[in-house]
Amino acid sequence: MFLDFFLLLKNDGIPVSLKEYLDLLEGLEKGVVEYNVEDFYFLCKASMVKHEQHLDRFDVLFGKYFEGLETINTEEFMKIPEEWLRREKMKMLTEEEKALIKKMGGLDKLMERLKQLMKEQKERHEGGNRWIGTGGTSPFGNSGYNPEGIRIGGEGGNRSAMKVWEKRQYKNLDDAVELDTRNMKMALRRLRALTREGLPDELDLDKTIRKTSENAGYLDLQMVPQKRNNIKVLLLLDIGGSMDDHIEICARLFSAAKYEFKHIESFYFHNCLYESVWKDNVRRWSESTPTLEVLHTYNSDYKVIFVGDASMGTYEITHAGGSVEHWNDEPGLVWLRRMKDHFKDMVWLNPIPPEYWDFTPSIGLLKKEFQNKMFPLTLAGLDDAVKALKNRKKKWD
């Protein structure tokens, strides 16, 4: 029935499956909604769209596919049972309209006349797009009269009010950051290190059994602390300049990481790590943190993840005063090595695809410095990076 519509949705990137389609049909069969376009739209939306980020696209596609819905051809229209058109009708009309209908001979007569008019007009305007009543007063007009939503007539001058799906009210939902981070979270999840620390609040079954036996069968409860994810992560993000192209994916990574780890610290740097980093990019010049302080504050068991495109002049890494933004007394490389000496596990995530890494000398330099522990910022790369943080032998190849 609506198979084409279903296929249109599927081909245009709305993840629908047969189940959704069958749901829709079942809903129609059971008469969940009244026979009108708007309710039909609502039902479609509830059954086919499962994520607000797809709502806007759905609206567009629905509009596209059902554009001709209101211009049902005459034969089809004649087949529509009158009750459909008449039901609920009287309550929707105002007193004046009711009076007008009465003046014209009542609803039955009006229906008769409508059919007659349609026949006549079909003969005269074969295929024409204006059948009945384009003006404002005729009850068969384009606008208002038919609360069931079947407009007789095309896109005449008298366009009825905007349809719900034409409002595109979900337009802004396309860009929420939290979307699509599930996969990243699943990848980051591998980094878990479950340890038992803190208050003993969980029953230790094995120990309880042993102790109870030792206690001649009298119960001796033994408790252990709950298992908690105790991994600590230090996230260092390159920001500004060439990284602007990758803001979105970094934001996603950031939001995924923030929810996944309890102990996570993040700092920003620009291009290469120098003597200071900052937490808030707006106040980076007034409130920065010396990198030395970072080294002293966080234990060596923190896992360090650098995120950056590593694309810059090589002198920005190797030379004192190489930074493009300020005078740095010591080259970035020195700072990176200090980090490396302190933290045991470090990886670099690069949003630039690995095919291009060889064309930028600075990427090669940093890659070497990180002992090949540079990974592309894709799901697969993230997966590998996480493995590399757990297994020191793992490298990108």
């Binding site: 993840p15 749901d23 059971k30 309710d39 739209y41 939306k45 509830a46 059954s47 929810y259």
Partner: protein
């Protein structure tokens, strides 16, 4: 038996369609939307409108799917065995029913609200797939399948803190409660304060919308904030005139704390008005 909203709850037509579809087709309804647009309220109102009992299951970060089904209280059985209690011979005495079982067990159809499903562990929805689909589960301890006597009406809310898996979504109907437009918002306020002065309502809504439009707000005030705020205005006997000529750019509105719940947003608002003053 159709849901159209209630005396205290204004439901838009598309929300009503989604609710009715999920009730008729016996699928869970997943409701999302900005905080404070009445997602949780919906379940209570559906229960009220359809005259059903409601069972609520509030999800926390530590909630597991199993807790919704049942828990086997091994410790009290062990204790009873030590004390020589007769109860100990029947394992059924130690099966503590969860909310889902409770809903399945009910002789009449109930509304089951699973509130804030996104708060739970990322695998949580996957663990409930079969239970919500077939409305049954297997209890290993009793070695029997628990089946819903009457399939409950399941309403699930989510705040989008975590993405839900596709397999789970496929089993649900979905509705996104969009922020209401002015007309509906007025109806909502009217439902809460039937005899509110029209001018006060208009000017408070003006200010409310102005704040909502402000760029860079972390948490934009939503319906529930507006309702709370108007309540404060009424209690504080703020006259409509006071609000009418109000310029948001110059000072903060009275009881702004009800609308803005975040110190950064507060700072933003203050900075804005300070900046305005400087330019004049």
């Amino acid at each position: 038996m159709e849901f159209k909203g209630t005396q205290d709850y204004v439901a838009s037509r598309d929300l009503a369609v989604a609710v009715n579809a999920s009730v008729r087709l016996q699928r869970p309804l997943l409701v999302k939307g900005e905080p404070g647009t009445g997602k949780t309220m919906l379940a209570f109102e559906v229960a009220k409108a359809l005259g059903k009992k409601i069972i609520t299951w509030h999800i926390k970060s530590t909630t597991t799917a199993q807790q919704g089904l049942y828990e086997y209280d091994a410790v009290s059985r062990l204790r009873d065995s030590q004390l020589g209690s007769e109860k100990v011979h029947d394992i059924a005495n130690y099966i503590v029913k969860g909310k889902l079982w409770e809903a399945f067990d009910s002789d009449e159809q109930v509304v089951l609200l699973i509130d804030e499903i996104d708060k739970a562990d990322i695998e949580f929805p996957n663990d409930l797939l079969l239970e919500l689909d077939k409305m049954e589960f297997y209890c290993y301890e009793l070695q029997k399948t628990v089946q819903a006597k009457q399939r409950p009406i399941v309403i699930i809310t989510s705040n989008n803190e975590k993405e839900l898996p596709d397999a789970f979504l496929r089993r649900c109907f979905f509705h996104f409660i969009a922020f209401p437009d002015r007309e509906i918002l007025r109806q909502i306020v009217e439902v809460h304060y039937p005899d509110l002065e029209t001018r006060l309502m208009e000017s408070s809504m003006d200010i409310f919308y102005e704040i909502r439009k402000m760029p860079g707000l972390k948490k934009r005030p939503s319906t529930s904030e507006l309702v709370d705020w108007i309540k404060l205005l009424v209690i504080g006997q703020i006259a409509a005139e006071e609000l009418a000529g109000f310029n948001l750019k110059e000072e903060l509105p009275p009881y702004a704390g009800a609308l803005i719940k975040n110190e950064q947003d507060f700072g933003l608002l203050q900075r804005l008005s300070a900046a305005q003053k400087r330019f004049r």
